[in-house]
């Protein structure tokens, strides 16, 4: 196996992590471009006024649009969204990375913050699906 294939294969073994590869970049191109559009104040205004209508202009799949409307960030990662692009959506909602991260981990914001204050999620047990370490 060549270097690229080996690396992508190894990365799939990391639990709870989606690598933003070329495949994801292709699949999620319009999720990410839509997200970028929210960097402009005039677009944020239109988006807030009618989210569904705003999405009509973007050639995303119905599944991708539903995930955006539901703010289902784990689903959006699976469907090709990248976290730095998705950040434009939760920033427009007035939410921080801590809020989005806690949602993706299934924890309450308070529990997530407490975990971070206590030193974060330990690497032990979170390195490899195969090795279980």
């Amino acid at each position: 196996m060549n270097r690229r294939d080996t690396f992508f294969r190894q990365a799939e073994d990391i639990p709870g992590t989606t690598l933003f590869t070329s495949g994801k970049a292709r699949q999620g191109y319009w999720i990410n471009q839509f997200s970028m559009s929210l960097m402009k104040p005039e677009n944020r205004k239109k988006w807030r006024a009618d989210e569904k209508k705003y999405l009509e202009d973007w050639p995303m799949t119905a599944e991708q649009k539903d995930a955006v409307l539901a703010r289902d960030y784990n689903r959006l990662l699976e469907l090709g969204g990248n976290i730095y692009y998705l950040a434009k959506i939760f920033s427009t909602d007035g939410l921080s990375f801590v809020h989005a991260a806690s949602a993706m981990t299934g924890m309450s914001v308070e529990d997530y913050k407490a975990m971070m204050m206590a030193g974060g999620r330990p690497v032990e047990g979170n390195r490899s699906i195969r090795e279980g370490n």
Partner: protein, 282 residues
């Protein structure tokens, strides 16, 4: 001639910018974060240390670059760069003034040295670049030095290897050493340390790994430059890969360096905050 004696690394967590912009430096949450920069803030403004220009290695977080264009290494050559609107309006920080002659000189030398740089003139700069300026310089009306932005893709895979980043640093140093103007130049590497912002594993921190990385900035750089992508991802979280940008900085310094200052604190938002100041050993 231009002279490069010092390298600085620091995390560029957006929340640190928020803390500064909202004057919350004394809040219990922010106080230990900012305290670790007090030493550097005093040190860097002493006339003998103050840089005329900083080559600031950072990554864009889907601000200037969308999925339309993804350069692996880009160097900003315009006269100035505006703070980016990342979704909540631009940070209230000064415009970033470049040293365009130095920037073009470095770009030309890198390309002649087989690094196929992308030249960028229109590039709003996001927290990756402005938070490091804030933690070093606090809140001046204008930044006290010129800034050459050097952007590395660490978002869309594959991103450049640590070894490639190191060699880029070496090539930057050769370019700076050949710049025919008396100029005190620093190089800063930003991002990291361990953090993961996405998915069910978000919040991952690996303090032991980070501390070894800081130690080996002076003790074992051969190890650092060979760390493979998969190790960053596994051990330091998906966004810990930003630490390859510290290797651009380290590669630009002499083989032997002295650690002048270090700061490590968990958490800053989702991130292990790391900061180090290094000096060439004469």
């Amino acid at each position: 001639m231009a002279d490069l004696q010092y390298g600085i690394a620091c995390s560029h967590v957006p929340l640190i910018g928020v803390g500064a912009d909202q004057n919350r430096e004394d809040d219990p949450y922010f106080a230990p974060i900012f305290a670790g920069f007090d030493w550097t803030r005093q040190w860097i403004m002493k006339p003998e240390n103050r840089p005329d220009a900083v080559i600031l290695v950072f990554n864009d977080h889907a601000s200037a670059f969308s999925q339309e264009i993804i350069p692996t290494f880009a160097i900003g050559c315009a006269d100035e760069f505006q703070p980016a609107d990342e979704g909540w309006g631009p940070r209230p920080v000064p415009v970033v003034k470049n040293h365009p002659e130095l920037a073009w000189h470095v770009a030309e030398n890198l390309i002649m040295d087989d690094f196929d740089m992308t030249i960028v003139n229109d590039m709003p700069v996001d927290h990756g670049l402005t938070v490091p300026l804030t933690v070093m310089f606090n809140k001046p009306d204008s930044w006290p030095c010129r800034v050459v932005p050097l952007m590395v893709n660490v978002v869309t895979y594959p991103v450049p290897s640590g070894e490639r980043c190191w060699k880029l640093g070496e090539s930057i140093r050769r370019a700076v050493d050949g710049f025919n103007e008396d100029l005190n130049v620093q190089i800063w590497g930003t991002g990291g340390m361990s953090h993961q912002l996405q998915g069910p594993r978000a919040g991952l921190i690996n303090a032991e790994w980070d501390r070894k990385f800081l130690d080996d900035m002076t003790e074992d750089t051969d190890r650092l430059r060979k760390i493979p992508h998969i190790e960053y991802l596994r051990e330091t979280g998906s966004e810990g890969i930003e630490m390859v940008m510290w290797l651009v900085m380290r590669g630009a310094l002499d083989p032997q360096v002295k650690e002048l200052h270090r700061h490590y604190h968990v958490p800053a938002s989702n991130t292990a905050l790391g900061h180090i100041v290094l000096e060439n050993v004469q």
